[in-house]
């Protein structure tokens, strides 16, 4: 009895304290790697119930800052205070105990385990815990997990295997895991969401936004995203980082997208109004897809990609649009149909053949399919199309460096060190190098872009879009799988909408003017 009473009092103390003290207070936090100040004297506070947006270009220091909050890095200087108590995290477990939970950009769930096992993976063992002497108490495990899910308003069955869940449901499990430890210790949690929406579809984003507003009732949130409209909609305050420093702290209602872009990137957005025309009759398509099918992915797809035009392929995650583009490139095998590239018909496209015909493909999975992290950037760039950096079988390292330097300048790839390993660059700059690998082709006839802007900050995204427009104006055909409908409406000349593996609508933006809602209807 007495033990129970004492727990109650501490609980009350904690609640009482959080009413005045900030959930998190950072005082002059710094972290240096070698000669580079990744985070330079950053200070801010988060009050209970606040949702904070954290934005900045790739490499601005956001990740390093988050890693110090999650206990992965130790700050060189400065103080981290959680609920008024200074903390020195020796590892992620300490941060969790203090109530800081991180939902990482790349999902980190054990897909072969159940929802409950995933949520409870960090909870301490022992008396009252979910496991004792290394043995699970399944009933308690499932009950505790259900309670954590309930806090964020999710009704997932704790016994489901994570591999059976959709992406957005997995995200819910991650959030439940992030708040699980603090839920049991009755400290209000601070949940850090690191780019949770970058690979979510539009409808799923709406669900996540609802979840975030629920988190507001039980704790605070740091929301990291590159989508400025979302940040403004969801967050109370926006923090902007650049070159390791906190350069702005704005309440959401006192700022706008244009200002945030300028703060982050250091220049105005280039207002881009695309001059659209219809396809001229008689134009020969670069890529003609006829009745193309792939078992279990898509069927009977017919469309053309014309020189100088961007075709955006829209669809939800089950639409088969990614598989369609990979099949055109030759990475997956079609079960029926014909792909004609520059007049050359084929039932069985192959990557080697496509590349010879001047086709390029920017994969969505950059790290595994697009680049060699442990290879210098200039070698990555000239691997497929050496274009002057090779004479016959022999390479010319100095020419290679010169060509790479030119692309670094043109695409504003930073830092300007093409000899550095590509893996050491930030995501946005890696993506620019992978793009340059195809742009370096002297005869690029078509470029297939699979989620080219995924995870890119607005500045890098704008550079990529500018290059896409430039090659388009030079007569290259572009097939684009965009992240959002807005992206399609901004850059495309033609739109193909797919639903359940079939085309459900095509638009020539030269004379059609579909609204977002029109397109959404065709997708769902």
């Amino acid at each position: 009895m007495t033990a129970g009473a004492s727990i109650d009092t501490t609980e009350n103390e904690v609640t009482a304290m959080t009413d005045q003290t900030p959930v998190l207070r950072l005082a002059s936090i710094s972290k240096t790697f070698g000669t580079n100040k990744a985070v330079d004297s950053v200070s801010f506070e988060i009050r209970p119930g606040e949702v904070i947006g954290l934005i900045g270009e790739n490499g601005a220091g956001k990740s390093t800052l988050l890693k110090m909050l999650s206990g992965n890095y130790r700050p060189d200087q400065g103080v981290i205070e959680v609920n008024g108590k200074p903390q020195q995290f020796r590892g992620p477990a300490d941060a969790l105990r203090a109530g800081i939970g991180v939902v990482h950009q790349e999902q980190s769930l054990f897909t072969n385990l159940t929802v409950a096992e995933n949520i409870e993976v960090n909870t301490p063992a022992g008396r009252g815990g979910v496991s004792r002497l290394g043995l699970y108490n399944w009933r308690r495990l499932n009950a505790d997990a259900a309670r954590a899910l309930d806090l964020i308003g999710s009704h997932l069955n704790p016994n489901t295997h994570v591999s059976d869940l959709s992406f957005i449901d997995r995200q819910m499990v991650e959030i439940a895991r992030a708040i699980r430890v603090s839920a049991s210790s009755h400290t209000p949690p601070l949940v850090i969401l690191d780019e949770p929406t970058s690979i979510l579809e539009r409808t799923e984003t709406a669900i996540l936004e609802r979840e975030i507003s629920k988190l507001r009732d039980i704790g605070s949130v740091i929301f990291v995203s590159h989508r400025l409209d979302e940040v403004l909609r969801i967050c109370d305050r926006v923090l902007v980082m650049s070159n390791g420093r906190l350069i702005a702290d704005r309440p959401s209602r006192e700022t706008n997208e244009a200002e945030l872009f300028r703060l982050m990137v250091g220049r105005e957005t280039h207002a881009a109004v695309r001059n659209r025309t219809s396809v001229q009759p008689g134009t020969v398509p670069v890529i003609a897809v006829k009745n193309l099918s792939r078992q279990g992915e898509f069927s009977d797809v017919t469309f053309d990609a014309f020189p100088g035009r961007v075709v955006a392929v829209l669809g939800t995650s089950g639409s088969g649009r990614e598989s369609l583009v990979r099949t055109i490139f030759g990475a997956e095998a079609p079960s029926a149909g014909i792909v004609t590239i520059a007049g050359d018909e084929s039932h069985r496209p192959s990557i080697g053949h496509s590349v010879k015909k001047g086709i390029g493909y920017l994969p969505a999975e950059r790290k595994t399919e697009g680049m060699f992290g442990e290879m210098p950037a200039d070698e990555n760039l000239t691997l497929t199309h050496p274009a002057g950096a090779a004479v016959g079988p022999f390479e010319l390292p100095r020419r290679r460096r010169a060509i790479a330097t030119e692309w670094f300048e043109r695409l504003d790839i930073r830092p300007r060190t093409p000899e550095r390993m590509l893996g050491d660059f930030s995501g946005g700059n890696q993506q620019k190098v992978v793009l340059a690998k195809w742009l370096n082709s002297p005869e690029l006839s078509a470029l297939l872009l699979d989620h080219p802007l995924r995870g890119l900050d607005p500045g890098a995204a704008e550079t990529v879009n500018e290059q896409v427009r430039a090659i388009c104006d030079a007569g290259t055909a572009v097939v684009l799988i965009p992240d959002t409908i807005e992206e399609a409406l901004e850059i495309a000349d033609d739109i193909v909408v797919m639903r359940d593996g079939r085309i459900s609508g095509t638009y020539d933006l030269g004379h059609d003017d579909p609204t977002t809602l029109d397109l959404l209807e065709r997708m769902l």
Partner: protein
């Protein structure tokens, strides 16, 4: 948080993390094997000064030639992320076939042997690349086949060169700087491979496969043809190793000189800085890997370590050197 701060910042650019430690790692990859070899040589010279003066270096170089050749072939295969367990068996089979063929074919025999062993390697490569048999399992199988072929062709005895033996034996008996030509052939082969790896598109493609095979496929690198090439090079190198064995011994047998070269050659490739998971190779440092592997048994008997303990010393030293020189990333998983 003031406006002035804002204007100043974005120009300098987002520099990635400085990685001073990495530069050290790369430098060590280049000179580590040389440093280790020289350090061991110094230790031996201090313990037994007579070793260096008494032509010890020439003995090491001569005995390292077959190991070096096999290690170079192995490093090409390791570089594309595979392994060739059959190359030493190919070398031995090549040596036996050469001993049989030298009489009838004279100077044509070495050329035929090189063609045959290159073909053996290419078949390994074809099966790995086109039928996607894991190289470890496949070459374990072909290792057995080649060993069986050695037993059959040799009739389980030592095969002596009947005629025209001088065609290859001169390679061992004449030398440059007191070191047999056989060693210099291996060195020239290493230099050629180095040029291939450093200055040609083929070399870039081979390394790309080892670093990230999916990305190589998506970059239109001809991954399958290049894998076949890597295994064919391993077979070719094994063929030269077979010729070197005959030049050195004048005979070949399934249990004689060259029958236990597989693991020393893998050790030499690793000590020479080749990554066991692929994507990192420098044929020039493999030379010092092979010299080191050849030095250990010769030096341990020169120092006077009892015969029973030599294999123990060999094992311990090899583990220590591989641990010191092996190419690996800070956080990567080593299998």
């Amino acid at each position: 948080m003031s406006a002035t701060v804002t204007e100043a910042s974005p120009e300098t650019g987002a520099a990635p993390r400085a990685r001073r430690a990495v530069i050290g790692r790369h430098a060590w990859q280049a000179i580590g094997p040389i440093v280790i070899f020289i350090a061991m040589l110094v230790v031996v010279a201090i313990l037994t000064p007579a070793f260096i003066g008494g032509g010890g270096l020439a003995i090491i170089a001569a005995s390292s030639a077959p190991i070096l050749l096999l290690a170079l072939g192995q490093s090409m295969v390791l570089n594309v992320g595979s392994i060739d367990l059959s190359n030493a068996a190919i070398a031995l089979l090549g040596a036996i076939l050469l001993a049989l063929a030298l009489g009838p074919l004279a100077a044509g025999a070495p050329i035929v042997i090189l063609l045959v062993t290159t073909l053996f390697g290419a078949v390994n490569g074809l099966l790995v690349a086109y039928f996607q048999v894991p190289s470890f399992a496949l070459t374990l199988g072909t290792l057995g086949i080649f060993q069986a072929a050695s037993l059959v062709t040799s009739g389980r005895t030592t095969v002596y060169v009947s005629n025209n033996g001088q065609i290859v034996s001169t390679l061992y008996q004449s030398g440059i700087a007191n070191v047999p030509i056989t060693f210099w052939i291996a060195v020239v082969f290493a230099v050629l491979l180095w040029i291939l790896m450093r200055y040609t598109r083929i070399g870039r493609g081979l390394t790309a496969i080892g670093k990230n095979e999916s990305a190589a496929i998506f970059s239109a690198v001809r991954t399958r043809a290049l894998k076949v090439l890597a295994f064919a090079l391993s077979g070719f190198a094994a063929g030269i190793a077979g010729i070197v064995i005959i030049a050195q011994a004048g005979s070949a047998s399934p249990t004689g000189l060259g029958s236990d070269l597989l693991l020393p050659a893998i050790a030499a490739a690793l000590i020479g800085g080749t990554s066991i998971s692929g994507g990192v190779v420098n044929p020039l440092t493999v030379i010092f890997g092979a010299l080191t592997v050849a030095l250990v048994p010769i030096a341990s008997s020169a120092i006077g370590i009892p015969t029973q303990a030599q294999s123990l010393v060999y094992g311990v030293v090899i583990i220590a050197i591989v641990a010191l020189t092996m190419s690996r990333n800070k956080s990567s998983i080593v299998k």
